[in-house]
Amino acid sequence: MDKISQSVVKKDHATKISGRSVYVADYPSEGVLCGKLLHAKVARARVVRVEVPELPEGYFYVDAKDVPGDNNVNIVLDDTPVYCRDTVEYIGEPIAMLCGPDEAEVERLRDACRVVYEELEPVLDLRAATETFFDYHYGHGDVDGAFAEADAIYDEEFETGYQEQAYLETQGMMAEPEESGRMFVHGSSQCAYYIHGAVARALGCGPSGVHILQDVTGGGFGGKEAFPSILGCQVAVAARKCGRPVRCVFDRREDMEYTSKRHPSLCRYKVAVKDGRVTAMDIDVVFNAGAYSTLSAVVLQRGIIAAPGVYDVPNLRVHGCARKTNTSPCGAYRGFGAPQTFFAVEMMMDHIARDLGVDSLAFKQAHLVKQGDSTSTCGRYHFPVPLPAMIEEVETACSYREKRAAYAKPQTGRYRRGIGMSLYFHGAGFTGSGERDLIKAVAKLRKYRDGTVEVLASNGDIGQGVRTTFPKIVAHELNLPLDKVFYDHPDTARVPDSGPTVASRSLMIVGELLRRAAIHLREVWVDGEEQEVEERYKEPDFMIPFDITKFDGDAYPTYAWAVNAIELEIDTLTGTSKVLGAYGSFDVGTPVDYNIVLGQMEGGFLQGIGYASIEKMDCDDKGRIRNNSFSDYLIPTTKDVPNLRCMLHVEKYPDGPYGAKGAGELPLVGAPAAYLEAVEQALGGSSLHHAPFTAEDTLAVIAKEGV
């Protein structure tokens, strides 16, 4: 193991485990007003008026009229309002915030507000939705020709549902007017500079009029990428009006029902096969964006770029669109569009193999991309594709092929077994040229007179460990003990914009900037002096420039790779399933801390297993999400899986620090396909097309098809 990979005790371990860490809800309440949002109760309506009860002294009602600047939150487009405009577009849309010193009284006043609606017909069904936020096409080769010459054509549709991030700490932000007039906003978040831009715009005050601090954050998984920008604006506007600090912390039901989650999807795959090989894919991807566009453009881009999977498809046509429905806006969640399409393509390949009477894994292996091949967007896989070796690692861990053959034979008895395998990648970092053209990351190191070094960057530790791994890199290059290098939660008043904490980019991109900065500092180091060095992002030379209008070029500099196998047993009387073993080989390059990376793989893998099986959320016929509590939206407990077997395969990436590449999102992406393939086998060879696949779904198949 490389020296850099050797695990250390995390820098924030002691404060977190002892309960001393201060999350946004933990600041004292003295002098702080409690804010509670008044949420829309109908899916689509014109708001005629709001009848606000008489407010006691010290209590405030805040809405769009109180926004001093622009009532639009910039995410990708500007369509998300801070507080609703004259219509509400989904159940839960924030109409106003009630603020005051006593929480119970604020809730009472909020509940006493009477909103008079003129109801409009909502669009709730994705299939019936016609308004499209984003619509993309790309492809290459002669798709129609390949279909004309095909021996067989397969045409199947796959569906996936919502997934809720279910971070243990709910959304929460706090705004404090400072004496200078500057607004200080802090809270649970991933992207301090996104919030900075949004709040400055809402307050109409310019960038120097605000600063944003990331508080200790109890999990994000993408859910705190864009949403805190909206909530941050809401509390900032409230604090400006009230002239006092305002804090708004969501309760669990509010959070589950109204905040962003993974996009539900419909993916239709038409595949041409000739001489036992896939010759073309014609893919149509539809994502349910919800009521506002938020991050749907970029989620969809990643989803459709991943649509042909890890396979070499000579002729490819992909169409993707994100449609508007009157439901909670969907947003970022670990994997960012790719879990949906990887689920579809892996199931599709499995179904084709079964129809051809060939082994699913062998069929997939025969189509694997390799180094030098073209990517779906006519970029290149510049680096080795280690999937064949990783398949054998998983094989060694779980005897996949032997079990797969054994469980394919007819089974009897109450419990039936199956095993499935998925192969996948995750494009490391931002899609396309975002890093170069939009983010332009800057990171700094500040050395103090006593020889300690501070990392200045804007990437928030949300549990993934950047407060430890960033200093590890710097200490390594400066040959300093780790306790001489520190990295606090970012405050935009003191750190440069090194970009958001998203897209599995922090360690690979910003970590590399810090490595270079440390080398620079080492070169100019003068004892006893305060010194500062800065590094800026430079795109690697090998990149084929990406054109987003054509989806052409290198969408990602490199890829993280994974192979998962899941073995399970279903109960034919109840439809419930039991995971007997979950195995994964993950290549995220060099781990900058073995335990930290392993923890990312294990945690993401279990989220993927949950997504595949028990994490079911949907809307009723009014557009209301009913699965809004931990008793209704089920995430795995300790008793739902055995210890997961995760292995790290290291294929170093030369432009990442010590060979590291994107890590955090990868392990979630492929679990659903491995899980569903196993369920298919346990059910005696059914073809399944949706995730999550619940006990109820399993029993429905048994009732229809027998076992």
Binding site: L573, T574, T638, D640, L699
Partner: protein
């Protein structure tokens, strides 16, 4: 104490219960989730008379204030009840939740109540200077409706000492811990001199109260296993016709299907294949 009374003894608790408008608080795990505004609680969690498990000639008597964790540690609580109770939620909930509270909450999803139904348990209800014993199925009048007067408290659950040895228990939740039952099933079987003496089957979490059909059970009583086998198809059909399930987060169809599968498996387990 503001908005609450802490009773140190059962007699004190009954005095307070008779004199004030109070909500009996045993473990709190359901009440605190309901979070009713402006209620006054009568705290029973430290009443010693309600915390005992005793055995007499006829019954295992479980105090209403006994927690699930305490029952799991008791040598006197029968395995069927322990199996059901061990599957409730998770340790912290089992440490707080009580048998009396599980009854008093009135839910058909209550896992200990299912066992009380299938076991023909009785409840001892007490009030100031008065007590009565009722069959558990008579205690449940409907959804969240109980035969409990405003001056009464549940004192004990009386489980028959014998006859619970041969059983099936199944809990179907959404996951393996912290799971609310979507279907729960308990069956108790008895055979003497080659004839069926008991074939009780109870279904939880599928209707307003626990379902049990004693008239259908009666059609197998006194029969030999062979005779029962011949009747099985009709027997299952009769259940299928009778069971009308309420809709929940999972469909009524699914739950009905599970109920019938589990009933079938229960009969098969005891030779009625």
């Amino acid at each position: 104490m503001v908005n609450g009374y802490v009773a140190a003894s059962l007699s004190e608790a009954l005095e307070i219960r008779a004199a004030h408008d109070v909500v009996p608080y045993a473990g709190g795990t359901d009440l605190m989730v309901e979070n009713r505004p402006n209620v006054t609680y009568l705290f029973l969690n430290k009443v010693p008379e309600l915390k005992r498990i005793t055995v007499d000639d006829e019954f295992i008597r479980i105090g209403a204030g006994v927690t699930f964790t305490e029952a799991l540690a008791s040598p006197d609580v029968p395995p069927l009840m322990k199996e059901a109770v061990s599957r409730i939620a998770a340790p912290a909930i089992r440490n707080a939740g009580t048998f009396g509270g599980n009854l008093g909450n009135g839910s058909a999803k209550a896992d200990s109540v299912l066992i009380e139904f299938v076991a023909d348990a009785k409840l001892r209800l007490v009030s100031k200077g008065c007590e009565r014993v009722v069959d558990v199925d008579k205690f449940y009048l409907g959804r969240k409706k109980l035969d409990l007067r405003s001056d009464e408290l549940i004192a004990e659950i009386l489980l028959p000492k014998q006859g619970l040895e041969q059983y099936s228990y199944e809990k179907v939740g959404g996951r393996n811990a912290l799971a609310i039952s979507r279907v729960s099933f308990a069956g108790v079987f008895g055979l003497e001199d080659g004839r069926i003496t008991n074939v009780a089957a109870a279904f939880g979490a599928v209707a307003d109260t626990v379902l049990r059909y004693k008239d259908l059970e009666a059609t197998l009583l006194g029969k030999t296993v062979e005779e029962a086998k011949a009747l099985k198809a009709d027997y299952l059909r009769a259940y299928a016709e009778r069971m009308t399930l309420t809709r929940g987060r999972v469909s009524a169809e699914y739950r009905k299907n599970v109920c019938m599968n589990l009933l079938d498996a229960f009969l098969t387990k005891f030779g009625i294949g």
